[in-house]
Amino acid sequence: MSRRDGTCRFALSSGFLLVSLVGLGARLAFLHLGPNEGVSRRFEKRLNAGRGGIFDCHGRENMLALSLAMKSVCVDPSMVVSNGCVARVACGLGDVLGRPVDQVAVAINKPDRRYARIARFVPAAARERICAMKLPGVFLQDAMARVYPQGPFLCHVLGFVNHEGRGSAGVEQVMDNYLRGCPGLLESRLNARRQEVYVWRGRHIPALEGADVHLTIDQNIQHVVEGALDAAVREHHARGAWAVVQQVRTGAILAMGSRPAYDPNVFRVSSDAQRMNRAIGYVYEPGSTLKAAVIAAALNEGVVTTNAVLHCEHGEWRYGGRILHDFHPYGELTVADGLKKSSNILAAKVALHLPRKALHGYLSAFGLGKRSRIDLPGEQSGILHPVSRWSDISPTRMAIGQGVAVTALQMLGVISAMANDGFLMRPYVIKEVRGKDGSVLVKTIPRSLGRPITFETAATMRALLRRVTEKGGTGRRARIAGYTVAGKTGTAQKPVPGGYSSTNYMASFVGFVPAEEPQIAVIVVVDDPQPVHVGGRVAAPVFSLIAGETMRYLDVYSTTERMASL
């Protein structure tokens, strides 16, 4: 081979090598820098935001509701049908999930469909068994489940989340916008193994996690309330019972229980009656507990004094063509004694001392006939007719809690106002809303809704209501060892078409403790207790149990200790 040929061949080889390198380089650059739709598969994924948690007043220590990442079992029916294994898949899933095979087969046997969800929120053990079976067309899908670790506990306040992930009752409904958060977006590409390649990730907008809601409810007080209500329903064969514990100075609700209850984890199997929060959604005639409001109004107007003596007609008084009875016959009684002994006739006569407009104005100022604006859904406004619709005897009947309907929360507001120097506070259960970074998004500040009575009248009423639980009063069973209790019993006949039932009653007790420096107010209502139906014997002991435990739990100084320290 000549030297010229060798040079030529070398030049050709170099040229070929150069062209190859340039070509490979260009291809490399094209693959890395150019559009690669044909090579990789784009995908867009919605990133679900975790729903925020709900906690009691102690913060993150006591969790009442949270979201858990779970899996749902889904099927691609067209794939299952085309593989001819409907029976095998139906048998396998039915066996593991404990569902009728024929139902599963019907759900799967739809060749024109690409998606069917067979079961939600499957436990880990069942998931593993399904994966091990390797059934064609069966896959697991991520899903967020809302769970309530304590089951029916506080169910009426917490509410529940429906299958679309929306809050449908209670705090879950009211604070849905905060709890739900905001979903994110991920745009990226998959490799040949159908795995996301991080470096090809396009847009990534992280999901904004839902905020946490902190309640004013105290888990331990709530436990006491629910236990006491369960015991009362059992003991008195009642249709239902409900109770609310409120902080007098702020209006914060420390506990709210209602019976019957339901488990929000399986809310679908509960009835409307079980789901109703009776403390705010059930209106009833308050009976004698309203006497306190009427007497407070009369004292505030100055039309009577506590020592004013009224004749109680020996238990039977005809007025406006209708007869009004007392439970026990009395002759002359002072206003103070009339309240202590819960005389209907005395209360009616006191009401007649007030101008009708004034009586209506006071009852309205105490919050009757309108919603208290508590931060829970389903609150009823109750019934307080305008004066124009009153009959001749209306004031006498309203004075004994008939012809007017209230919720337990409204009645609690009346007594709380007397305990709080006349200020009616807005009740609330949501203490604050915190973002995941700990920042406070919403904070509830105690707010006064008005001042129906003066400081002096409130102090007088506290003294009068305290006598109710003393010897000779109707609320003796509400007493608590070491503490002074003020309150009022109520035994209301339930209205029936054409009058009032003589067998069905609402027994209630509403009061506050300690009487000299009130900290908490509590109302207990028992629906249709049998055979004993008197508020002083049915509801007052429940009050005593709840308020006594709460006082000791909150470490409130007892009256004896207070006296000793003075």
Partner: protein, 130 residues
Amino acid sequence: MARRNRKRARREGVAFPVPFVGIIVLVVSLGLVYVWLDCQCNALGKAIKTLEIEQQDLQKKAGRAQFRWAQLKSPQNLDAVLARYSMEMHVPQWNQVVKLDRPALSDTRLVRSRSHVRAYAGIERDGRDE
């Protein structure tokens, strides 16, 4: 001879021109650096992805642990556990509790401002002695 040698030298120079080799080396080096960087990015991407998955798993585990913990420390469960062991616990009555008043805030401030370097126990003793 001298003329022939010059031609050979020119031919050899054409066969391996320094700029050409330089360009080749540069291109190959750039390519290698690019590939190395790409590998590094991919490795980091995989690591981030793995950590993301791990984080998600841990979040799920934390959620389940929180759920379990909330169940365990719920008052109902505590009652059930106490009942299982035949134990009864009640909140003490008011007369079963001994309360000790805290020293007034103003006194504490005074003591701290006077000597914050001394031991707390010493401060307490001094305060009592006075």
